[in-house]
Amino acid sequence: MAARTEAVSGDDAALSVRGLTVDLPKGMERTHAVENISFDLKRGQILCIIGESGSGKSVTANTIMGLLPKLIPVSSGAIHLDGSAIIGAPAKKLRGLRGRVVSMIFQDPLSALNPLMTVGEQITEVLTAHGVGTKASRRKRAIELLTEVGLPDPELMYYQYPFRLSGGQRQRVMIAMALALEPTVLIADEPTTALDVTTQAQILKLIRDIQRRKGMSVMFITHDFGVVAEIADSVVVMEKGRVVEQGSAEQVLKSPTHPYTQRLIAAVPHLTGKDRAVREKASNETILKIEGLSKTYRSGSALFGSQRIVPAVKDVSFDLTAGRTLGVVGESGSGKSSLGRLLIKLQDSDGGRILFEGRDIAKLSESEFRPLRPRIQMIFQDPFASLNPRSTIGQILTVGPVAHGMPYAQAREEARALLAHVGLDAGAFGRYPHEFSGGQRQRIGIARALMFKPKLLIADEAVSALDVSIQAQILKLLDQIQRETGVSMIFITHDLRVASQICDEIAVMQKGQIVERGPPSQIFLDPRSAYTRELVAAIPGERPRDTRPIAVNS
């Protein structure tokens, strides 16, 4: 290991990575997790590392933290953190650096905190581990930190357990924990990806404020160019384990030179503000009319007074014209997914009417609804979990139609034709889901739904689990299918940018109710409700760049 021969690139780098190569175990799709990557994180700056899944950005972060699993060893390169060499350093030295010189926050604040320990214990633990302070001074420091990250009632918060906090609050606790010993470098691994858009905006602001105030250096890993535009001073773009482009945020965002960066930036969905062109075949016929639909979840037992009542959908009404797409947008817990499940009758509603082609399906029993089921189909969020791993694609596609009376030979022919239609080759018919990538599986999911020649497609977060470039392809495919078949669509998503790409009309949901409904131009450019305004304002990277203060790059 040539750690000594590479000079640290001056004092202005808090973190410097030189020629880092990390091997992958044999039999993986490539030989290296990251290959010969070099970059510097300058003191007092925010460096964004951006890339799609599998680009090696998280491996890079874990290598810097010394948290790589033993299975994937560093084969060459050097990392200097605040002057000290990381690669080849003994475990004990690395442990001394972690939490003190370099800290990390993670993607999912729900699982990143120990459920059995109070917030206070988890923060003071950092101080204890590094032998800092007394019991009383540690407690004082923890409360100081909780105040600093903007949590309400720090004294009370100290004794809270994580399950009591919201996702945003938990991420604030994580940040407090990471800041406990005022580290030189903070590594944030997709810290806002699991959060709602309004919460994301707050957390991004918090990280930026703290970074400015303390002159901390932040390495921020993300897959979202919107986030990059929001906070980055400089950017490193990674693809398949290699750094393909790096430079200042201005430079990379405005004039990307590498084709991959250009493709990525082009694929980022933007708020269009423009309405979708009406299709030629469009009719004015209403295919779906919802009137006063509601659903309340009850849990626990009414007998012993421990019952919990959660109104998920409250008095929702809308209608959908045939061949058009209605976007249902909302944050987590807004009731958008419950609404989707009610429409396809995976759940029974408590009240209201669902008029599908003029017939109220809300009151139909399971057996009465069964003949109608093929006409309303769903595309699910998780292309990994929604396909049975033990069935071939052919079986997945044909089992439903055959059960509804289609001869197998015909089903097979249609399935092959559909696979070609959604952009897969006919050879996919005999293969198993694990042989396909996420985007391909989502295509299979779409083909499965189309097998029934449905009149109405309900897509529940159908592109949320996919990388942006794949996302763009799937959105294009859905648009193409709608133009060809005239199917109507309800597109449920948390991502306003995605909704603006594909929807003719958007309904914004909050706490089980539709707070605003209108064409994208109205929702994004002239929102009528305060909540919609807040949502639109929170979208990262959508404000004009010149309103954002940019740190001066030396």
């Binding site: 699982s111 120990n114 059995l116 633990e125 950092v126 357990y161 399950f163 012993f304």
Partner: protein
């Protein structure tokens, strides 16, 4: 929390009711009935048998017998043994301590050793230790308890002469050491299968927790591996194990019945077999109800302990 307790308690009562009905009906469906043993006695005439039936109330319809029995049970009168006329609760009480001693000591052994093997197997996954523990668990699970007992007696009592072959104490020697000496082999034999079960579950639970994000957080904070294991991993991994401990109780009880027979241990297992042999229905029903209550109670305690430890249940 109060609602949760009331809810669980009412469930338990319904469960006990069902157990008692099934037990009572099944026992009385067995051919022969409680007086079968007298049928073999040539000096008993049919008149004698009828009189006995009349005295014991066995000529009434079954549902009446059940209600009568159940009502007395609730009031604390568990009936009298057909064998010696002693109250059932007294009979059970005489054998209870021996069984509880055996069950308690083997449960402690099983949990202590099983937890250790499970955690070590998870932290040293695919090591020689892990491999041997897996094979050992399979062996312990696939060989019946009585066989281990017999082999143990042959090796340690007959061949080596280290441990007594049976009984709870040597007559005339009531010292604690003597009790302990007699307790070693039966409790280990009874514990074996539970060490195997416990270690497998503990290994899985530990592996689950180790791959959780908060363990990574703990590493990122710079904690020592030891503290991560003790403070973050073990606590979370033991949580599902408490429920398991409650659920394992019936199997420990069943195992105790077999072990007691092998080691002539004067506990409830021996009493149960003897009472069945004598068609001593009141004692058999008493034992059935007693063990049902014990199992229900322990499960209830396990749930309450989990609720106390887990803030997600305690505070919601």
């Amino acid at each position: 929390m109060r609602g949760f307790l009331l809810n669980r308690l009412s469930q338990s009562l319904v469960l006990l009711l069902i157990v008692s009905v099934i037990g009572f009906v099944v026992l009385n469906l067995i051919p022969g009935g409680p007086l079968a043993q007298f049928g073999l006695d040539p000096s008993m005439t049919q008149d004698d048998l009828n009189r006995l039936k009349e005295q014991l109330g066995l000529n009434r319809p079954l549902w009446m017998q059940y209600l009568d029995w159940a009502w007395r049970l609730v009031q604390g009168d568990w009936g009298h043994s057909f064998r010696d006329g002693a109250p059932v609760l007294d009979v059970i009480g005489r054998h209870l301590v021996a069984t509880l001693l055996l069950m308690g000591s083997s449960t402690v052994i099983a949990i202590a050793i099983g937890t250790w093997i499970g955690i070590r197997g998870a932290t040293h996954r695919y090591s020689v230790f892990d491999y041997l523990a897996t094979v050992g668990a399979m062996v312990a699970l696939s060989i019946p308890t009585f066989w281990f007992g017999l082999v143990g007696i042959y090796v340690f009592s007959l061949r080596l002469g280290w441990l007594p072959a049976g009984n709870m104490y040597t007559i005339g020697d009531g010292s604690a050491l003597n009790y302990l000496h007699h307790l070693i082999m039966p409790s280990i034999v009874l514990a074996l299968v539970h060490v195997a079960i416990w270690s497998r579950y503990m290994r899985t639970a530990t592996l689950d927790v180790i791959s959780q994000e908060f363990v990574k957080t703990a590493r990122a904070k710079g904690l020592s591996e030891r503290r991560i294991l003790m403070k973050h991993v073990v606590g979370n991994a033991l949580l599902p194990m408490i429920t398991l401990a409650g659920m394992q109780l019936p199997s420990v009880l069943t195992g105790a019945l077999v072990t007691e027979t092998v080691f002539t241990w004067p506990g409830m297992g021996r009493l149960f077999l003897d009472s069945l042999g004598y068609s001593d229905y009141p004692v058999v029903m008493g034992l059935l109800m007693f063990s049902a209550i014990l199992v229900v109670l322990c499960n209830l305690i396990a749930d309450i302990v989990v609720a106390i430890i887990d803030p997600r249940i305690r505070l919601s």
